[in-house]
Amino acid sequence: MDYDKHKIAALIDKFWQGESSLKEEKVLEEYFLYSEHVPAEFADAERYFLVRRERSQNGALPADFESNLLDKIDESESRGKGKIVNLTFAWKAAAAMIILALTAGLWYQLQDNDTSGQLAGTESTVDDTYEDPRAAFEATKEALFMMSSKFNEGSSEMMKIKKFDQAQNKIKTTEK
């Protein structure tokens, strides 16, 4: 392919001035690629265009680039999905725990209220014997004094037995 030296020189000037079109650059590129004798004055431009072509070739994407890229995207997506699933599960578990804790807490409170009724022996069907606190207090006082005196009576009996045991042990020890 013959090239007009002057035309090439004009294109090179245009190129260096940044005014060349892509088509003109393509012409220059082909010129430097295929011309056997490039004048010395075009040496800079020749070096530039050859290096540019070389880089663009080296920089070209390999044939399997797209499929590799898609594979990598798939891989990364599947890894991503796995993480999301785990996270969702963790949230569900945490939510379930919180609901359980709240339910148990509520149940506990309800039972506790129920139990205070039971503690007093007033299980829903059993009402207070007295409505007047003073009368209830008098009855409580009487009952507790009775219980207390029985308790003390029992305690003194227990002490008698204890003393008897101690005396018996003493006798046994003396006998030995």
Partner: protein, 173 residues
């Protein structure tokens, strides 16, 4: 994991709380539902209302203070029984192991036995069974109970036999 532990503890606490009722309802459902008995029931609410009772003496003021931790009291008395003593003997076998026998007195004309229910070293219920030839009395007080305080109640009334109490209480507490 922490949540799991909290849930577990709540469940245990709930079941323990739910399982609570006094010895009378637990072991004597027959006499508890008997219509021919005399009952005295003081609920925890009534014990709370005692706060508003104006003490008429120093003794009453101390008593109100002593019973401020009580949560309930029940007394069931069944009279005119054919054989109160036989019922009493049977009754003694009913309380389960959680009720420890504290003291028992057998006399020709009357018998009584005290049981206590302890939780972590604190007495939460004192239960007494009293029996003679023709009657039976079941009495339960619930709440935080100090046996020395219980003993002191009748000591204030100069009941005999209390001089040994502190020693017994010290052994028990």
């Amino acid at each position: 994991m922490k949540n799991a532990i909290i849930v577990f503890l709540f469940s245990i606490a709930s079941s323990v709380a739910f399982g609570q009722s006094d010895a009378i309802s637990k072991f004597f459902p027959d006499i508890d539902s008997d219509e021919n008995v005399t009952r005295v029931s003081i609920s925890s609410k009534m014990f709370e209302m005692f706060m508003h009772v104006e003490p008429e003496s120093e003794e009453e003021r101390e008593l109100l203070e002593t019973i401020s931790d009580l949560q309930g009291m029940r007394i069931i008395t069944k009279e005119n029984m054919q054989d109160g003593m036989a019922y009493y003997r049977k009754a003694l076998k009913k309380p389960s192991a959680e009720y420890e026998e504290l003291l028992s007195v057998s006399q020709p004309d009357e018998n009584f036995t005290f049981f206590v229910k302890e939780v972590n070293g604190d007495i939460h219920e004192v239960f007494m069974i009293f029996g003679d030839s023709e009657s039976i009395v079941l009495m339960s007080i619930r709440g935080l109970i100090n046996l020395q305080e219980l003993s002191r109640l009748s000591r204030q009334m100069n009941i005999e036999g209390m001089k040994y109490l502190d020693q017994i209480d010290d052994e028990k507490n």
